[in-house]
Amino acid sequence: MNMTFELSYEGKKRLVIGGVLAAIAAWIAVDAMAGGAEHWGRVFVRLPLLLTGQGDGWPITGGFALNILLSIASMAVATVLGTLLGISTLAQSPYLRLPAFFIMNFLRNSPWLVLLFAMLFILPFQVEVFGLRIPFPPFVKAVIGLALPTAANLSEVVRGAVQSIHSGQWEAARALGYTTPQIYRHVILPQALRRMIPGWMNLYALLTIATALATVTGIQDVLTILNTSLAMESERVLVYFYLTTLFLFFAYCYPIAIFARRLERAVKGDNI
């Protein structure tokens, strides 16, 4: 009897992924028996510190939670800036379009780490507006430093999405008496938004990964904690701490990337 198993592409993919996961699990098991278990135990005890910046896990003052907070704050700022920048690069008036184009390209081609360092020195310690003192703590500097390059990259996503809206929509809206800002608000952006979501999510995953760079501003993010509070741990144990930190980023960002890819497929070729 001839027994062959025909595997589909999906089936093969699942088999390979399963194999890799099994290999990793096997390595961890072998390593654990060879003394790794003790190191993992150490990581487990210090995990609250890694996650929240406090040994007890409460109150949250830093750690990986701060990276998440930083990514959310930066993304919020970047979304507003990036949308304005993206629309500006499409403006009719060259006085708006050319500076926007220059800013976008400058920021897109700047190393994120250099931008973060630059913000430390460019942004003042605090600003006074109408007698109101607004402080710029390191966290705010980190938010701005990360938001700038993200905004520049997002502006390209916005530009692409806006340009992908059929020109007939502009014509119809103009024929109905809408002004350009109104057309963006009521007709173009509501449609472009859907097409932006996958790109926006991809950027967010990238930004979250880049929040580790913010350690240079001195905030108590997960990397700062690794380098300071945990510096007394033995070198051997630190390997396990770094592996854990890498896994934290992976566990947070990978589902976002997967979800974005799925949305991308769903949005492709749809009319809305």
Partner: protein
């Protein structure tokens, strides 16, 4: 300042796209309540004329007056607003807003552009949907409607602006033959109601039945401008005769 009593007056307009001169001195006047059809081979500038009338395309040279608006002198979208109120347009590709329902498509501009009362606009919009025989499709999104239904919603949307003039740009060109009929029926009713209409069309039979006047354009000029009976049965210009010979 009016040069004549016509509602729309176009005098010697020129328009180029890059090196290509689309309009080479078109002149046309349209009286109130008149239905004028523009026919001619593709690329002869028919649609461009319509877009110049409501200011979607700026002209290079010439004079356009619609009612009291001197269109060639309007510069910004804001200045265009009263003109756009007076002149509506219906497009070949419908251009409905796909993220809004049929009813919302009709209600948007009167509320957001003209600042009319929502309740009053909704009432008007529902009546218009009845008028184009789509009263039961108020909550449907454009993607759920057939081409002919979308085009009738687009006509209702144009009417909701309470215009004096409607421009129809090859509104049946993208439709299936069966649905063409329902759209043409709707347009015919508007013409019968006395609305001033300018129609760019390839439907010669419809042009003959509905139009008060038919213009034949070729290479950026109006070659012949006559009542339909004269133009179709007794064309004067050899180019008109050749074109009609091909399409009829």
């Amino acid at each position: 300042m009016k040069r004549s009593e016509a509602l729309i007056e176009i005098d010697n307009i020129h328009k180029s796209f890059g090196d290509f001169e689309v309009l080479k001195g078109i002149s046309l006047s349209v009286n109130e309540g008149e239905a004028v059809c523009i026919i001619g081979p593709s690329g002869s500038g028919k649609s461009t004329v319509l877009r110049c009338i409501n200011g979607l395309l700026p002209i290079d040279e010439g004079y356009i007056r619609v009612g009291n608006h001197r269109v060639h002198e309007l510069r910004s979208e804001k200045e265009m607003r009263p003109l756009r109120h007076q002149v509506s347009m219906v497009f070949q590709q419908y251009n409905l807003f796909p993220h809004k329902t049929a009813l919302e498509n009709i209600m948007m501009a009167p509320i957001q552009v003209l600042g009319h009362e929502r309740a009053e606009v909704e009432d008007r919009a529902r009546k218009l949907l009845e008028k184009v025989r789509l009263g039961n499709k108020a909550d449907a999104y454009p993607g759920m409607l057939s081409g002919g239904q979308q085009q009738r919603v687009a006509i209702a949307r144009a009417l909701a602006m309470q215009p004096e003039i409607i421009l129809f740009d090859e509104v049946t060109a993208a439709l299936d033959p069966e649905t063409v009929k329902e759209v043409l029926l709707t347009i015919r009713e508007l013409v019968d109601d006395g609305l001033t209409c300018i129609l760019v069309t390839h439907e010669m039979k419809f042009a003959r039945e509905v139009a008060d006047r038919v213009c034949f354009t070729d290479h950026g000029l109006i070659v012949e401008n006559a009542p339909p009976a004269d133009l179709f049965d007794n064309p004067q210009d050899p180019r008109t005769r050749e074109f009609l010979g091909q399409v009829l």
